[in-house]
């Protein structure tokens, strides 16, 4: 049989399935899985004639090699013009390299005329298609989720305070019930926070620390309100009006290339460690890099009283930001201040003497140390005008601290000075009176070295703890001196602030270990304490009353508006921390297991130093009172409350008695209804008698007070105590004798 011609072969007869196409398939297969990640499209390259292509390729290869190994570079040619088309494709050996190329070289200026645009090939695929919708769509706003009332705890009928107790991995919020077992606000939660928890300054939010950042909690049941993604956050602070949260993490922010849409940071935040958040929305409003080579002092961002401005320290500069203007630098630039060491904002608005209409100014103070041709200076500046209100020049300074009185009426600049030999330290206090004309400065010279300083809240008195440095540095000898200062009041009637000119020490307590001054938030009472620190082993507490009403007094000087008395000295030898409750009724002291393992637990004292409640708990860590916002009562209303204090306290005593135990509660309730019943009976009876008989009831006979009803009778009683008869020589005889 003749060989069959090609024509004879019918397609149908070919067993297609039997033919092995694998070699062809391999050759022409288009890998649908092909990874465009490795490719970039470069636009904006010079259009070069064919002859220059090798040169151009070489230049571009060199340029793009910075990002990684180039597998292939392809410059398409225009067949007609015999030149390149101005774009090219580059294949890298990895997606990382391609990404790097985009990051590095996108927008790169090749020369004056040419700027390269580098894009991922993926993007071209994604955006270049017809399907990609180029029309603008309104972004969908997430539905507004109202939070429950965040200040509900202030509506407690009995005006109780809340506090947080932390023990091991358990954290709980409780109602203070004096001597009784605290009542749960919410069930104690396990691992609520990695470390401690923190309240915002007015108590609205509770913040917890987590690996992923910080979470805020609030409302009646402490539900989670917001999450602030900032991995490994180590510290946080909240602005005075609770608008902003500042977090700090040792781990710089890395913004991933393919960051999810809800990633809080933009690419500009890469490498930053300090982050400012809007607490209500959870949005990151600003991030900062840490200033290089500086010691970190927390808080790193400080706020003006109204949150309108915030500032942070830089090398030889102070950066003030306008929060209402998108955190732009105030005036567009940082404030150059050579050598600035520390600064702080006034805690409240200041009624400067120059202000009209009771306007309040934001004020900050900072200090600079001595330098070659300048003395040490403390400066008070108004923001945003940057007007310098006062400069205090200081010499021979070794350290300065700034202490604002809580109503910003006074700023004390505590200046630790050294003698010329630099061997001993002594302290001067420069007290600036902010509200007076031209901000006068009053100087108080201390003979020894002031360690601690604290203003009386809402007052003009202060306390220092100082030490006289002696040759004997045996740490077991108590050497600290607690000194109480008040403005001199020569005339008892002189109570106007302007007349208070000079602060004088009016009492001294010597031979103390004291390392802490803790004023009651309401003023008047203060606890000068020794807390357990690495240097001190034994804690002690001294309660003082600066307006003691009794006869006794520790005053050395009478011409001050203060009468000091030591009220109590309760024991808690292992206490490491203390905190007043926001109302100034109780002091909590506790021994934290994070500091040492002795007698961990807490005690709550009242202002008389009596132990109201104590609980020793193994592994107890932390006690936090929930702060309260400023009272809304006006001064007049407060005065009225004070005037009727007896009436109020009568009601509170009853409540206390009722809380003491349930039997008492029953009894009180029963009595209350009996009293109510009786009053009701008397009222009804009065009405009935009035109506039926025209008779007016009364409880006690009232006697007429007119003078006719009374007659004053005076009786004089003479009583002869002794009668004595004596014979006296008659005058005549004596005359004769003479």
């Amino acid at each position: 049989m003749a060989t069959a011609s090609v024509e004879d072969i019918k397609l149908e007869d070919i067993p297609v399935d039997d033919i092995d196409f694998s070699d062809l398939e391999e050759q022409f297969n288009i890998d649908s899985q092909i990874n465009f990640d490795n490719f970039v499209v470069v636009d904006g390259a010079p259009i070069a004639p064919e002859s220059k292509v090798p040169v151009l390729t070489k230049v571009l290869t060199k340029l793009f090699s910075q990002a990684g190994n180039i597998v292939d570079i392809n410059l398409p040619l225009d067949e007609e013009k015999k030149s390149t088309k101005g774009y090219l494709f580059i294949e890298f050996d990895s997606a990382v390299a391609a990404k790097k190329a985009i990051k590095l070289l996108n927008g790169k200026k090749l020369d004056v005329k040419h700027r390269l645009f580098v894009n991922s090939l993926n993007d071209v695929e994604k955006y270049g298609t017809e399907e990609f919708d180029t029309e603008f769509h309104e972004p969908k706003l997430p539905e507004f989720n109202p939070t429950e009332y965040l200040r509900s705890w202030l509506q407690d009928e009995n005006g109780r305070d809340q506090f947080v107790l932390q023990k091991g991995d358990m954290t709980g919020v409780f109602w203070n019930r004096n001597a009784q077992q605290p009542e749960n606000v919410v069930e104690p939660r396990k691992n609520w926070s990695n470390t401690t928890v923190k309240f915002s300054p007015k108590g609205t939010y509770l913040f917890s620390f987590h690996n992923q950042g910080v979470a805020s909690w609030g409302g009646k049941n402490f539900d989670r309100l917001q999450r602030f993604f900032h991995p490994q956050t180590k510290a946080l602070s909240v602005s005075p009006t609770e608008k902003y949260l500042v977090t700090l993490s040792p781990q710089p922010i890395e913004v991933p290339e393919d960051a999810p849409e809800d990633f809080p940071f933009g690419p500009e935040s890469n490498g930053h460690q300090l982050c400012v958040w809007d607490i209500a929305t959870g949005v990151s409003v600003k991030t900062f890099a840490l200033p290089p080579g500086q010691k970190l002092h927390w808080p790193m961002i400080k706020w003006s009283f109204d949150d309108k401005y915030c500032a942070r320290l830089g090398p030889n500069a102070l950066a003030v930001y306008d929060t209402e203007n998108n955190f732009e630098l105030l005036g567009g630039k940082v404030l150059k201040i050579d050598g600035i060491v520390d600064f702080s904002f006034a805690p409240t608005g200041v009624k400067l003497a120059v202000n009209r209409n009771n306007e309040l100014s934001s004020v900050l103070a900072y200090w600079t140390p001595e330098s070659n041709n300048q003395s040490c200076k403390a400066t008070i500046m108004e923001i945003p005008t940057r007007r310098i209100l006062r400069t205090v020049n200081l010499v021979q300074v070794s350290d300065v601290t700034l202490h604002w009185q809580n109503q910003s009426e006074y700023l004390c600049v505590k200046v630790d000075r050294h003698t010329k030999s630099k061997k001993t330290l002594f302290t001067n206090l420069e007290i600036c009176k902010l509200t007076e004309k031209e901000v006068p400065v009053e100087k108080v010279e201390m003979k020894d070295h002031g360690l601690r300083f604290a203003w009386e809240p809402k007052g003009n008195r202060f306390i220092t703890v100082s030490v006289t440095e002696t040759a004997d540095d045996n740490p077991s000898i108590p050497k600290n001196v607690v000194t109480f200062y008040a403005p001199e009041q020569k005339d008892k009637k002189a109570v106007k602030k302007e007349e208070l000119t000079k602060w004088i020490p009016f009492a001294k307590v010597e031979g103390q270990f004291s390392n802490t001054i803790s004023w009651s938030p309401a003023g008047r009472f203060v606890v000068v304490a020794t807390l357990v620190t690495p240097d001190t082993r034994k804690a002690d507490f001294d309660f003082y009353d600066l307006d003691f009403t009794g006869e006794k007094s520790l005053n050395n000087v009478k011409t001050v508006a203060a009468n000091l008395m030591d009220v109590a000295h309760p024991d808690y030898f292992s206490a490491t921390d203390m905190q007043w409750d926001p109302s100034g009724r109780y002091v909590a002291v506790w021994s934290s297991a994070t500091k040492h393992k002795l007698e961990n637990g807490y005690k709550v004292f009242n202002i008389a130093g009596d132990t109201v409640r104590e609980e020793m708990i193994d592994g107890f860590q932390n006690f936090v009172w929930r702060p309260r916002p400023e009272t809304l009562l006006t001064n007049g209303e407060k005065k009225k409350v004070r005037k009727n204090l007896r009436e109020w306290s009568a009601q509170f005593e009853e409540q206390d008695a009722m809380q003491a135990d349930s039997a008492m509660r029953e009894l009180i309730l029963a009595r209350r209804s009996m009293l109510e019943e009786w009053t009701q009976y008397r009222e009804n009876n009065t009405a009935v008698l009035e109506e039926e008989y025209g008779f007016e009831t009364y409880d006690t006979i009232v006697l007429g007070t007119s003078e006719e009803d009374f007659q004053v009778v005076e009786e004089i009683k003479e009583e002869i105590l002794e009668e004595k008869e004596e014979e006296v020589d008659s005058f005549e005889e004596t005359e004769e004798a003479s």
Partner: protein, 349 residues
Amino acid sequence: MRPIMLKGHERSLTQVKYNREGDLIFSCAKDSVASVWYSMNGERLGTFEGHQGTIWSIDVDQFTEYAVTGSADFSIKLWKVQDGSNVFTWKTKTPVRRVEFSPSGDKILAVLDGVMGYPGSVTVYDLKRDAQTNEIVDIAEEPAYNIMTREGFEIASVAAWSFEDKFIVVGHKDGKVSKYDGSTGEFVDSLELHEQNVSDVQFSPDKTYFITSSRDSNAKLVDVVSFEVLKAYEADCPLNSACITPLKQFVVLGGGQDAKDVTTTSSREGKFEARFYHKIFQDEIGRVKGHFGPLNYVAVSPQGTSYASGGEDGFVRLHHFDKSYFDFKYDVEKSAEAQKHMQQLEIAN
């Protein structure tokens, strides 16, 4: 509280009374002489002499012009307080157990014992006074009316006037208490209040409610108009007397084992103490001891600043209250007062 001992009677006290101003104390005893004392210092002002037997009861009118005494010598005597002279004497058929001026001073009631065939009665006499001087110008010798012991009741042991002479409240030997119209003597109402003899009836300062004491160891507070029991106070011994303190919301109860029973009862003490109860809460809040016989009568000054007790031992003990007495208040009262005060303030604003 240091008591002032009024030593002047030779036998057991039967009644002790303050005048309206609280500056004088009138006392009578089984020794037939009544006495008047200054409440301030316990000095005796004078005596009313003339009775032949035990004086069971004494009273003084609201003007402190006249005093009246009722005696076991079958007579009621009217005295002028100023000089102690006997103004008038009513002869009665039986011993007189209780006398009392009506609040207006125009009537006198007398509780007459039911002995010698007489059924016992509460007898009311009219007096006529000068409108200006309050001097008694005419005395009715014959009773205005007699409230004879009703059927089903035992004889009356005590009686007292309510506000504006409207009612007479009578305590009976069987523990019943009955109410009569003050102007006509008509029966109005009755209550089975106690199980034994009603030993005393004393009114509140405004005479709108009263307290009864009984030998059954109970004292009860009753509203005179509605005749409903408001409160009950239980003591641990027979009671001879009870009174309501003005100014404070207390009641004072007095009594004790009968002298004749002391030796036969197991309790070591005769419970010869004045007991203070809270009028509203009914708790006992304090006791004052001192007498060495039962307390026959307790009385509080109308101003509420002192109280006097007359004892079987023949002494009147007069106590001026301390600061602690005036300060004492239950938390509930304090807070209620405080709330009231706050409300008033709010209204004022």
